[in-house]
């Protein structure tokens, strides 16, 4: 008999449920408990880079916005560097940019917003340049295991065309589901995104 590999197995995922806000955004559940709360604002007064708003909705298989969904984003800073010891790329760490935030959708409209900066281009481990992108993780009632996707930017056509991950998507028509549209409203740069969980314009989700 061969030797056994003594690996453990990952703990199985379970849905975050409809009351996920209690644990992760208690203010949205309707009460104040922690001194410091995690928010959808990633920028501080000294954060470097172009200030942007990400604004969007997550839609179910009927096109109805989810009003109890929670998103987390993780992104590089303006220099393309993640604030994490495993990232040894040359761009400087920004002392006023953590790179992570979370947001719940509005209970009436389903709208989700993040205040952040546009990330710089990153480099993957084989040295290929990756277009600027924001990593997104989605949990909600009815979602049994968190869904991973990315937000790319509509004003980065050349970088998007060369992006190694977008180019892994076999059908070019599906690549557009990951690209947020840039507009300017009241002097603010806003990127609109729509995440379709299911259906003809279904967003590309990754097994990362």
């Amino acid at each position: 008999m061969v030797q056994q590999l003594t690996y453990l197995k990952e703990t199985a995922s379970q849905t975050a449920g409809p009351y996920v806000h209690i644990g992760l955004i208690p203010g949205m559940a309707g009460f104040d408990i922690f001194e410091k709360n995690f928010t959808n604002i990633l920028t501080g007064p000294n954060t470097k880079g172009e200030r942007i708003t990400l604004e969007g909705r997550v839609l179910d298989g009927t096109g109805t916005p989810l009003r109890d969904v929670l998103l987390e984003i993780w992104q590089a800073n303006a220099a393309g560097r993640y604030n994490h010891p495993a990232d040894r790329s040359p761009g400087a760490i920004d002392g006023d940019f953590h790179g992570w935030g979370r947001a719940g959708s509005d209970f009436e409209t389903g709208l989700i917003t993040f205040e952040t900066i546009k990330p710089g281009a990153t480099v993957d481990k084989t040295g290929r340049k990756c277009a600027p992108h924001v990593n997104v993780w989605i949990v909600a009632r009815g979602i049994n295991i968190g869904l991973n996707t990315r937000i790319y930017f509509s004003d980065e056509d050349a970088a998007n065309a060369a992006d190694p991950v977008l180019n892994l998507i076999e059908q070019p028509v599906r690549r557009s589901t990951l690209i947020a549209r840039r507009s300017e409203r009241a002097g603010k740069v806003v990127y609109d995104f729509t995440i379709n969980l299911q259906g003809p314009d279904e967003t590309v989700f990754f097994d990362v």
Binding site: K9, T15, Y19, V20, H21, D87, T122, R141, N144, V208
Partner: protein
């Protein structure tokens, strides 16, 4: 970790020795989707319209996935892991006083140090402090129902709370959730991000819960059920339950197109 907790670890015969240390920044072990619930699990009705129909696109972990947010003690308050006290207004919450403790490990058996664990739950009567919960059981004025902790250098965490009650929900006409505590865990990379639920040993609602039934692997389901840990309980104070959480293991990159090795 206390000597007591170390002894508990040593006594767990199914706990393997750690394998070779993860040396570098390789991606995480491929997620074993056979132990996780599928996205589409029609017995849990909400999943029907909220599950992708297309395949997930597999990505080999790059810097975007193997990195993730790092948290520190500055992010937490002193009572964040004490649900008996962190929302107390004029007394203690009503309910069975319990401690939940355990380790966050990865698939190689190594503790995941300094990682953020968040938890939330209903009160002893099964009522959530959430504006959308309309169950007729009352709110407990001294119970918020959420907390968080950072694991120590060995991946150990603990918190104190009251045991949550079961509650009804609109799935089938007569569906009731078993008593459970929700957990959110970060790990060291965004690809390890996990939300799950902990159940209590012996609860007769476990075998009839449509959400638990989404887990296809009986052993994986069993790992969501926390045993009573009488040895770790505080006499005349609190019973203790043990809940270990396993995150994905990390591969080493022995050969890579990088100037430096591991």
């Amino acid at each position: 970790m206390s000597a007591q907790a170390a002894a508990i670890d040593a006594a767990r015969i199914n706990r393997p020795e750690p394998l070779t240390p993860p040396l570098g920044d390789g991606g995480f072990f491929q997620r074993d989707r056979a132990i996780h619930p599928p996205a589409y699990a029609p017995g849990y009705k909400s999943s029907v319209l909220r599950s992708p129909r297309q395949s997930l696109l597999s990505l080999e972990g790059s810097i975007s996935e193997i990195t993730g947010p790092v948290f520190g003690h500055n992010d937490l308050g002193p009572l964040d892991n004490d649900l008996i006290r962190n929302y107390a207004k004029d007394g203690d919450p009503i309910g069975e006083r319990i401690v939940v403790h355990g380790r966050v490990l990865d698939e190689t058996g190594r503790g995941v140090p300094n990682t953020l664990v968040e938890f939330w739950q209903a009160n002893a009567g099964g009522r959530y402090r959430h504006k959308k919960d309309t169950y007729l059981a009352p709110i407990d004025p001294n119970f918020g129902g959420c907390g968080r902790a950072l694991t120590d250098a060995n991946g150990y965490y603990f918190f104190r709370t009251v045991k949550p009650g079961p509650y009804p929900w609109r799935n089938y006409v007569n569906s009731w959730r078993p008593a459970h505590i929700h957990f959110s865990v970060f790990g060291s990379g965004f690809a390890q991000r996990l939300i799950t639920q902990m159940y209590f040993e012996g609860d007769p609602l476990i075998p009839v819960c449509p959400i638990l039934a989404t887990v296809p692997d009986p052993e994986a389901l069993g790992r969501l059920i926390a045993p009573l840990d009488l040895n770790a309980s505080a006499p005349f104070d609190s019973l203790t339950y043990r809940f270990d959480i396993v995150l994905r293991g990390r591969r080493s990159t022995y050969f890579d197109n990088r100037p430096e090795g591991n």
